[in-house]
């Protein structure tokens, strides 16, 4: 794909995103906003999993940390614009603290460590009622107000979330194009070779993990004003697995993978709701079919078809079978 064509597609997508909610009622706008927020969360996990090759089952707990910090600060009267960076910073630091010991282990073991961390965060949120409201949660968080632009209504909040998502995507674009990004990929494709080339693999992996966690925190900071109610159950392990599914269905290691994956996981059940009692069964079956036939994710479908038609074109060998526990 030429850079010009890519730019055109991105502009078209952006125009589509701006036009998407127009003429729709609140429910559709709410679902589209959730899509944006989960795109940010899975973008973070995509950095850890797709680019740095480390599987994490704790993304929902970083969303929780971001969401609770934002909720507590905004309920105390702070503006979202101040609360959000603090939430991000906290997630980055926790990501470093967790990553430092956790990244000594890899693959299955790292998955278990992050799984335990997710459970730990859930239990802390539930049992420390004095701070987090326990299982009753926190309610009534305000949506940010920027003078002339108030996001109290659903449509302005969608555009606000879209703007944050675009900024987050631009930052991610910068990260994966930077020398760090190259190092992440080198690490995933061949850690021994990367190390032999002078890449400090531990530091780079840790950095990917912490940045990925901060993206989870940003998603959390947006969930708080969207739902205006948070409780520990919304950040349990099942939600981490859901974010993992988004990354894998979309295409781990592809920049637009999370956008597609979050779209499938959030929008597909909604589209299927007309089947009433069967929609979750059909949805699960479709996900299984997708994972069997396109293990490299939906975004890789084009590349696979091209490889079939023009076999000389090289596909990325590491992505041919999708992300796996190594």
């Amino acid at each position: 794909m030429t850079p010009k064509l890519r730019l055109l597609i991105i502009i078209a997508l952006l125009a589509l995103a701006i036009a998407a909610p127009i003429g729709h009622k609140n429910y559709i706008i709410y679902v589209l906003t959730s899509w944006m927020i989960f795109t940010i969360a899975s973008m973070g996990l995509n950095l850890t999993l797709g680019y740095a090759g480390q599987i994490s089952l704790a993304q929902a707990s970083f969303m929780a940390i971001g969401a609770y910090i934002t909720a507590l600060l905004t309920l105390a009267g702070w503006h979202w614009i101040v609360a959000m960076p603090l939430a991000l910073f906290a997630c980055f630091v926790v990501g470093l603290l967790l990553g430092y010991p956790a990244l000594r282990v890899k693959g299955h073991f790292l998955a278990f460590v992050t799984l335990a961390f997710n459970t730990l965060v859930f239990l802390v949120l539930r049992n420390e009622d004095w701070l987090t409201g326990g299982s009753i949660g926190l309610v009534g968080m305000p949506r940010p107000d920027f003078g002339l632009f108030s996001t109290m209504k659903q449509l302005p909040f969608y555009y606000f979330t879209l703007a944050v998502t675009v900024l987050a995507a631009l930052a991610m674009w910068g990260i994966v194009r930077s020398p760090w990004g190259r190092a992440f990929k080198a690490l995933r494709e061949n850690p021994v070779r990367a190390e032999s080339l002078g890449v400090d693999t531990r530091r780079i992996t840790l950095l990917a993990f912490a940045i990925g966690s901060a993206y989870g925190g940003l998603a959390g900071a947006l969930i708080t004003p969207l739902v205006q109610f948070i409780e520990p159950g919304s950040f349990a392990l099942a939600h981490s697995l859901r974010i993992l599914l988004m990354v894998i269905v979309g295409g781990a290691g592809y920049f637009f993978g999370p956008l597609v994956g979050a779209g499938v996981v959030i929008l597909l059940p909604e589209v299927l709701r007309f089947t009433e009692g069967y929609y979750l069964i059909i949805y699960s079956a479709l996900v299984i079919v997708m994972l069997i036939f396109v293990p490299s994710g939906l975004i890789g479908v084009g590349a696979r078809i091209r490889a079939k038609l023009w076999p000389k074109k090289q596909v990325r060998a590491d992505m041919a079978e999708g992300a796996s526990l190594k």
Partner: protein, 378 residues
């Protein structure tokens, strides 16, 4: 009498408005847990609502308009439930029926409130009516009312000096636990074991062992359906001897079905029970439900049924589809079963949407819940 009078007026108005108007429908949005952890409660609620809708439509609908029921599955996820209440309102729902899990209700009732849409909920967490939302109404009293009704049973009948509490640590269990613990403190009964468990927990061996060791005179069990059943099975396995007393869920049809013989002997205070067949309305509902769905209705089914019928009664009192007038009418309203038979029991709502009506103490005997006492409305 009053109802007949209203019906006469509304029919006249309808005839005046012409045939096209007569085809109009009233949309009700049933937003409830049809999958996930809350499915046993949610599906019963749905089936109760369905029976009510069928009956109401057979009698000519609400204000002469047929009910069109929208079904929305929250997957027992509060965030999804919020989105679906929004969807139901977007699609023109005049009132919302659901949700049952308090965590979901806490978040979605804000949406109904913003749109001035009345909402009947099956949730029992005390905080729901304490938020000052004028559009939310319960279909059973909250645990802050239900549990104190049980206190006398502990002091007078069981003559307990020390008790144990086994509860599920979610917003439902936590609310009940706190009310019960403070009630016990007030009456001077010592809580010798306080055992919390997780939603979806499979193994209750350690919990039962702990209770056994503490040797209380009775144990208060406050969990959702599936957890209650697993708890009862384990209690039977380890021969836990003291009476197990619960609120609402412990003796429910679903629990009895899942726990089998292990449920025998369990006692509970319930706001509503299909076992109260002496009450004519409940007896008829129980029979009809079993005929259609081939299983016993739970209290959630009766709650859904009552919520739907109340929507009809109150809307016809107001005389038009106006959410705000509906909410205003509901506050301080008392409906007598003699005048409004489908309300089943004399019921009142206070200024906050909390309700009161007579309730029952039931015990499971030979796999069936039987009423062993009644508690007057408080």
């Amino acid at each position: 009498m009053y109802r007949k009078y209203l019906l006469a007026i509304s029919s006249t108005l309808l005839i005046g408005a012409g045939a096209a108007r007569a085809e109009d429908t009233v949309k009700l949005g049933m937003v409830v847990e049809l999958s996930g952890a809350g499915a046993p409660a949610g599906t019963n609620w749905r089936d109760g609502v369905k029976i009510a809708v069928e009956e109401i439509n057979a009698e000519g609908g609400i204000l002469g308009k047929k009910i069109e029921l929208g079904e929305y599955d929250t997957q027992t996820d509060p965030q999804v439930s919020r989105a679906l209440v929004q969807k139901a309102i977007d699609e023109g729902a005049y009132a919302i029926l659901g949700t049952i899990y308090s965590g979901s209700t806490m978040v979605n009732m804000l949406v109904a409130q913003q749109n001035s849409t009345p909402q009947f909920v099956g949730s029992e967490s005390p905080s729901i009516v304490q938020k000052g939302n004028p559009f939310v109404f319960r279909t059973s009293s909250g645990s802050q009312k239900g549990i104190p009704a049980l206190t006398n049973y502990f002091t007078d009948t069981l003559k307990a000096k020390k008790v144990g509490i086994a509860w599920v640590n979610n917003e439902f269990g936590k609310g009940g636990h706190d009310v019960f613990a403070s009630e016990m403190k007030k009456t001077g009964i010592e809580v010798v074991a306080d055992v919390s468990s997780e939603q979806g927990q499979a193994d209750y061996a350690a919990d039962i062992a702990k209770l056994k060791q503490a040797q209380p005179d009775a144990v208060f069990v406050y969990m959702n359906q599936e957890e209650s059943a697993r708890f009862l099975i384990e209690a039977r396995k380890q021969s836990l001897a003291m009476p197990l007393v619960g609120e609402v869920t412990l003796t429910e049809a679903k629990v009895v079905e899942l726990a089998g013989p292990a449920a025998d002997g369990a006692i509970a205070h319930v706001g509503l029970t299909a076992a109260a067949t002496d009450v004519p309305g409940i007896g008829a509902f129980d029979k009809k439900f079993e005929e259609i769905f081939k299983r016993k209705p739970t209290h959630d089914a009766i709650k859904g049924y009552i919520g739907t019928w109340t929507t009809k009664y109150v809307t016809e009192m107001v005389g038009e589809l106006d959410g705000e007038a509906f909410a205003e009418k509901m506050h301080g309203l008392c409906l007598k079963a003699a005048d409004y038979p489908k309300i089943l029991l004399d019921t009142c709502w206070d200024g906050k949407g909390e309700m009161s009506r007579p309730s029952f103490i039931v015990q499971v005997k030979d796999g069936k819940a039987a009423v062993i006492g009644t508690v007057p409305a408080n």
